[in-house]
């Protein structure tokens, strides 16, 4: 048992995750995958497509219990876990605001969300249905839902996939803004190295399937120093450390 108030990290120690199809074909998705994310740290899981990143997040979210190994989630806030899925996954029959409020614990249902909606540029969209939003707006609503719950840990699965680069860049800045307002232990899946270097404190580099950790890349620089010049230096040193990785 951890004493109250201690900084509990996100600790992942998955020995093995095997998918077995009905035809008897088995695919080993994860093998000896272990890493830690410190309390209040923003980490990125970087790995090639199909290596098992989504599988890892699904295990941490409790959606897949068929694996060997263990993990430990941080505590604090509403003691909840929040997720931004690969798709926005908003309920199409509920408005943006209802979608956000439904995700809140009963006691927080009526809390004031003006600040959050303002920050994410959703103030005028609260009463719209998801079908009326562009993909960029829908992803912002998904971010709003995740942050509104004041989670103890935040898991994001390629939250900026299939957006044009300008929209993605704007959303990355929005994500940083809401995250900085309440730094939460976060683990974000991506296969975009630039994105990882811009957002994270630490990059966890994964191998091809079955995924295990190739190494860590710490970005100690505060985010507002990461200008284009610094970013290209970071890129260079990343490539020096992980020559084979994109």
């Amino acid at each position: 048992m951890q004493p109250v108030g201690a900084a509990v990290p996100l600790r992942v120690d998955i020995a093995e995750k095997i998918f077995r199809s009905a035809q008897g074909v088995s695919v080993t998705a994860l093998q000896d995958l272990s890493f830690e994310v410190r309390q209040g740290e923003f980490a990125c899981l970087l790995g090639p497509s199909g290596c098992g990143k989504t599988t890892t997040l699904r295990i941490l979210l409790g959606l897949d219990k068929d694996f060997s190994g263990s993990f430990q989630l941080p505590e604090g806030g509403s003691n909840r876990i929040a997720a931004v899925f690969q798709e926005p996954t908003l309920l199409p029959w509920r408005t943006v605001e209802q979608n956000v409020r439904l995700a809140l614990p009963k006691g927080l249902r009526t809390k004031n969300l003006d600040g959050l909606f303002d920050t994410l540029g959703l103030a005028g969209m609260r009463s719209l249905y998801p079908a009326e939003l562009s993909l960029g707006l829908a992803r912002r609503a998904a971010l709003a839902r995740a942050f509104a719950t004041e989670p103890a840990v935040l898991l994001l699965d390629e939250p900026f996939a299939s957006l044009d680069e300008r929209t993605a860049e704007r959303l990355r800045h929005l994500l940083l803004t809401v995250w900085s307002a309440r730094p939460t232990t976060a683990l974000m899946v991506t296969h975009n190295l630039r994105e990882a270097l811009m957002l994270s404190d630490r990059i966890i580099v994964l191998s091809q399937r079955p995924a295990h950790v190739l190494g860590m890349f710490d970005v100690r620089l505060p985010r507002h120093y990461r200008n284009p010049q610094v970013m290209s230096d970071l890129l260079r040193s990343f490539h020096q450390k992980f020559p084979g990785v994109a």
Partner: protein, 275 residues
């Protein structure tokens, strides 16, 4: 990031002045329906004039009977009795059929086991169920309504099973991650996804149920439209038979227009404003 495409704006504009344009667009189909029904009455009147017979009364005679039955109160008393049975059987069939259907659609093993049962019940003639219900449970209201519901439940099960198979697991997973309570899951995740299937089951359900209710009344009740039709059949009074039939059809039409369609429009409002 509103869409600059003007095509996208039209629905929003239309919604803004819906009170006026809504009336205009609603009036056109109603007019068509009225003209069409009037034409049918006219044709009926002509045919009844060409072949005058006690077994084939014209619309005027039927109208007279209708007025007389309405004046002495019998009409409303029997319509009410039938309507009550239809409503009770409908609610029971929808509730049980939906629960069973969703369970079968969600658990493949249970579905494989119970599938033959569903097929069996689908193919038992309504009359058999009614007769057996009266024999086993007596000539009472519960047996009557139960028999009608049992006739309808397999249809609802089949439709709702399809609905459950079409559920998107992504929404259920989102609800699990964000710890939705069981009631919220049903109300905000499950039912909206099942809504088109519920609507389909309801529609075919009401039509089927009211026809079976008449048989149930004919065989074992002492009021209701079915009972009256049987009575007038023995008296060979075709005008009265038609009067009761048309009165009940009219009631069902009004329910469709004033209850079913508005409810459906409300349930699908999020669909009508595409981005």
């Amino acid at each position: 990031m509103t869409a600059p495409d003007t095509g996208d704006r039209t629905p929003g504009v239309a919604a803004g002045i819906s009170s006026q344009s809504g009336l205009a667009t609603a009036a056109a189909p109603v007019l068509t329906i009225a003209v069409s029904l009037l034409g049918l009455c006219l044709l009926w009147g002509l045919a009844a004039n060409a072949w005058p017979s006690r077994a084939f009364p014209g619309p005027g005679q039927v109208w007279q009977v209708l007025l007389a039955e309405a004046a002495n109160g019998d009409l409303f008393c029997h319509l009410g009795a039938t309507l009550g049975r239809v409503a009770a059987a409908y609610v029971i069939a929808m509730v049980f059929g939906s629960v069973i259907g969703v369970l079968l659609g969600s658990y493949r093993r249970a579905d494989r086991f119970f599938s033959p049962w569903v097929i069996l019940f689908l193919n038992i003639p309504a009359l058999v169920v009614i007769v057996l219900a009266y024999i086993w449970f007596g000539l009472n209201e519960a047996a009557a309504i139960g028999a009608v519901a049992v006739n309808k439940i397999p249809n609802v099960v089949v439709t709702m099973r399809e609905g459950a198979r079409a559920l998107d697991p992504g929404y259920a997973e989102m609800a699990a991650v964000y710890r939705f309570g069981p009631l919220d899951r049903i109300r905000h995740v499950l039912l909206p996804q099942l809504q088109p299937y519920l609507a389909a089951a309801s529609r075919s359900g009401i039509a089927l149920i009211w026809k079976i209710v008449l048989v149930v009344e004919l065989l074992g009740r002492s009021n209701g439209v079915g009972f009256q039709i049987y009575l007038y059949f023995q008296l060979f009074d075709v005008a009265a038979i038609l009067a009761y039939t048309l009165a009940f059809v009219a009631v069902m039409l009004v329910i469709e227009l004033l209850l079913v369609q508005p409810v459906e429009r409300h349930a699908t409002r999020w669909r009508r404003r595409p981005a």
